[in-house]
Amino acid sequence: MTVSLISLLLVIPLITMALVLLLGKWANIRDGASLAGGLAMAAVGALLYAEFGHSPPNRIVLGSPIPGLELAFGLDALGMLFVLVASTLWPITTLYAIGYMRGHNEPRHTSFFAWFAFSITCTMAIALSANLLTLFVFYELLTLSTYPLVTHGRNDAAKQGGRIYLKVLLGSSVIFLLPAVIWTYTLAGTLEFVEGGILTDQASPAVLGVLLALFVFGVGKAAIMPIHKWLPAAMVAPTPVSALLHAVAVVKAGVFTILKVAVFIFGLDTLTETPAATWLCYLAAATILVASVIALREDNLKRRLAYSTISQLNYITLGALLASSTAITGSAMHIAMHAFAKITLFFCAGAILVIAHKSKVSELDGLGQSMPITMGAFFIASLGIIGVPPTGGTWSKWLLLTGTFEAHQWVLMATLMLSSLLSIAYLLVIPVRAFLLTDGPGPDIYQPEPLSPMIISIVLTAAGTILLFVFPDFIYNLTSNIET
């Protein structure tokens, strides 16, 4: 049963892609197919979760390109979490994208939805990877398959953004990640994800430190500074791409890789004995702060959100490198919590662009009167990023703070708290000013927000953010036993 569900997760987006390409001439049917694919995916994700833990873990082997190394898929708790997040948010984003692409008169819908579906295949393959080789292969494919989406505008700005996107992501993975993978293989003789790691006692802590640094810098999608420039550059993409891919799928694939490497390649015990892990923790902490400060000064709304994402991603990296059970749980939960909050923020940014034609933060004062739903959702999602009730972000930030406390890392703990304060300054002020200030352009200028697919999606994800506060236990149960 599980095997067929796993393969469905990989196949459904591919079928969707084929349908989108075939039905390209009939816009409504094509978009219907996209939506149906997304819903099927969410259903399969839910079924898989229901099955999870009941049937023994299974393995699908796609091939063995290098003797002794397989392209293989399986399912563990962390993968299950990522599958749940991505498969739930895909149909919602599809709904949103249908409204956005039509409302914003974007060209080439067929190729957009086709590449979108293909990116989801790669994301699912990453989530289900049974070893580091498989993970690496689909990690790279995800970069390539999102490139046409980032450059969807096909103008000079898109070209420039696309260049930075590829330069940073391909460059980091070829120069750092690929050698790290091959080196791990030569040290351990395997690349399987194994409980407790495969590098225990294979090399001195100093050597392992270098290897860990190669991994952390090589996984550019996790956006630790200075490997972060691609994320703001990717904001030239249409907003649904920024929402699902650059707030959820792609960036979460990055931190997911970091978590996988920390838990199943190094192993928490080995990681604790690697001094470099602490230094990299400090680098992540520095990234959290610097990115928050940049976000404060960024007037373009999407770019501000991008820097906020950089900051939040490094919470997860930091938690992974702390290598304590609590911190890892917090990190993994933050994947889900941040996903719902940040996708809501991007949805709002897109709706503001399409309905009010605004893209700068400084232009949003007083907008709350004509777009109350959007700005309300923006408010809730901002709370989610800050990590206060009634949003899911509360729990993950709580666990991460506890993790730093347990490790007696007071500086890191202070950093996390300071960063939460900063995020109030760069995020929460936006909806507050939108609602409270009325001296900006009045509501009479804008059309009121219609009950469109975009608004429905915004409400859904904002509701998700709150629901995760009320019912965090199913995510907690998944993430609290990642290591076994």
Partner: protein
């Protein structure tokens, strides 16, 4: 007995068919005969590979004269592997030659083209089959002469100059090779490869043998278009008809590499090559220079055929690095890459041929907007390009994995980093093409290439992906060969 005859049948068949074409002198008939010969050779060669893999080398003594006096044809696994690559590339590119003739050849050259094509094909096959070094030289010259003609057949006036340039360089290379043979013959009195290898062992400190080795190596490096002896290759590939570029890109440099492996491993042995000169380090250094010089030239080149010719210089660099490591895993990496690179480059040049067929031109400006006009053709270039970069899910990734692994085996960190950096240079020129083809409005109102061109294209594109997942054949045979070479010197 029948099996042993197979060892020479694939060489004789094209050489015999060539004059028949001249007699027939009908274009369609000439094409179908050539096609039939190619397919037949492909079948023979596949049978050979299966047979050799199962039961070891096959011998054929020409005219019944026993070696070392007579000429011996000896097909071992390495030869069979090379033969298969040559035959496959030639068969796949042939339909192109037929369709492209009207656009790329003068009307009176149609039949002659097939005649010379067959001779060239036969010579390349003979090179990989013969166990006699003078016989190898003869085939080297036949293949060189026929390639001068094929290149000169290009419609562009500059094709003549390119051909002449290649002729001068090629002749120098051949002369070096011949001098090397002469010196060896003077010392040992034999021309048979196996016999030579036995006798060279006694000549370890002989300056003549060392000189002979240097001459042979220099001649081969010229043919291989190894840096800095690659000057002839950009023009030769750029102005030759596209099918010829595809054939040469997939086969000619590979055969030169085969000769290099033969000379190092079969004739002289690793100790000799290592003992007298730091030849291994030299090859690695030249290979690395080739990787960077070729890639950087490719980045700044606007003519796409020249761009990929420079890219070939870079790829030959990778092949040389693998050979220079002088380890079994290094040789495996090289052989895997020989196979994969043949797939990539023939795909690229055939796709460029399709572009020329439709637009008549092939500079980076002319492919503007073709991403939407000729989607399958451009997709093939992109897939093959990704394979050149060595991105995962393509065959190039497998090559790169093996090369980097074998480099790391010897703890050469800097070399590994440089190899990977070199592959990023390839990413720059591949994405230049992507940007040109998809980000600009079309310059030419054209349709997708016709079906006879598309079928081989799609096959090659698929092969580039397929051999990135299923490597039982490419890696399997390569590993078997390098184990044979390193465990029991031939």
């Amino acid at each position: 007995m029948t099996i042993n005859n197979l060892a020479i049948l694939h060489v004789i068949l094209p050489l015999l068919a060539a004059p028949i074409l001249l007699l027939v002198n009908r274009e369609r008939v000439a094409f179908w005969i050539t096609m039939a010969v190619s397919v037949a050779v492909l079948i023979f060669v596949s049978l050979l590979l299966i047979e050799v893999r199962a039961n070891g080398p096959i011998y054929y003594f020409l005219g019944g004269w026993n070696p070392p006096l007579g000429i011996e044809y000896r097909i071992d696994l390495l030869s069979a592997f090379m033969l298969l690559i040559v035959a496959t590339v030639a068969t796949v590119t042939l339909p192109y030659a037929a369709v492209n003739q009207t656009t790329e050849l003068e009307s009176d050259a149609y039949v002659k083209f097939y005649v010379v094509w067959l001779i060239s094909f036969g010579a390349l096959l003979g090179l990989a089959s013969s166990g006699d070094i003078f016989n190898i030289f003869v085939f080297l010259e036949i293949s060189a002469l026929s390639s001068y003609i094929l290149i000169a057949m290009g419609r562009d006036k500059r094709a003549l100059l390119a051909s002449f340039q290649y002729l001068v360089v090629g002749t120098i290379g051949a002369t070096f090779f011949l001098i090397g043979i002469g010196l060896l013959y003077a010392q040992t009195g034999t021309l048979n490869l196996l016999d030579l290898s036995n006798r060279v062992e006694e000549l370890k400190d002989s300056p003549t043998a060392i000189t002979a080795f240097c001459f042979l190596a220099a001649g081969i490096l010229l043919k291989l278009a190894a840096f800095p002896l690659h000057g002839w290759i950009p023009n030769a590939y750029a102005y030759a008809p596209s099918s010829v570029s595809a054939l040469f890109a997939g086969t000619a440099t590979k055969i030169a590499l085969y000769l290099l492996i033969r000379i190092i491993h079969t004739v002289f042995g690793i100790e000799f090559a290592l003992g007298i000169l730091p030849f291994d380090e030299l090859i690695i250094l030249l290979g690395l220079c080739g990787v960077f010089a070729g890639s950087i030239k490719a980045i700044f080149e606007d003519n796409l055929k020249r761009m990929f010719a420079y890219s070939s210089v870079a790829q030959v660099g990778y092949l040389m690095i693998g050979v220079g490591l002088l380890s079994a895993s290094g040789l495996t990496a090289t052989l895997v890459h020989v196979f994969n690179h043949a797939l990539m480059k023939s795909a690229v040049f055939l796709a460029l041929g399709a572009v020329i067929y439709r637009t008549g031109l092939v500079s980076i400006k002319d492919i503007a907007g073709l991403g939407t006009r000729m989607p399958l053709t451009m997709a093939t270039i992109v897939i093959a390009g990704f394979s050149l970069i060595g991105l995962p899910a393509t065959s190039g990734f497998i090559s790169k994995w093996y090369l980097v692994t074998s480099v790391l085996e010897q703890d050469r960190w800097i070399l590994a980093a440089l190899i990977l950096a070199g592959s990023l240079l390839a990413a720059i020129y591949v994405f230049r093409i992507i940007e040109a083809a998809w980000f600009n409005p079309p310059r030419h109102e054209v349709r997708e290439a016709p079906l006879p061109l598309l079928v081989p294209l799609c096959l090659l594109a698929f092969a580039n992906i397929y051999f990135g997942f299923d490597t039982r054949f490419s890696v399997g045979v390569s590993t078997a060969i390098s184990q044979l070479v390193f465990l029991e010197p031939l």
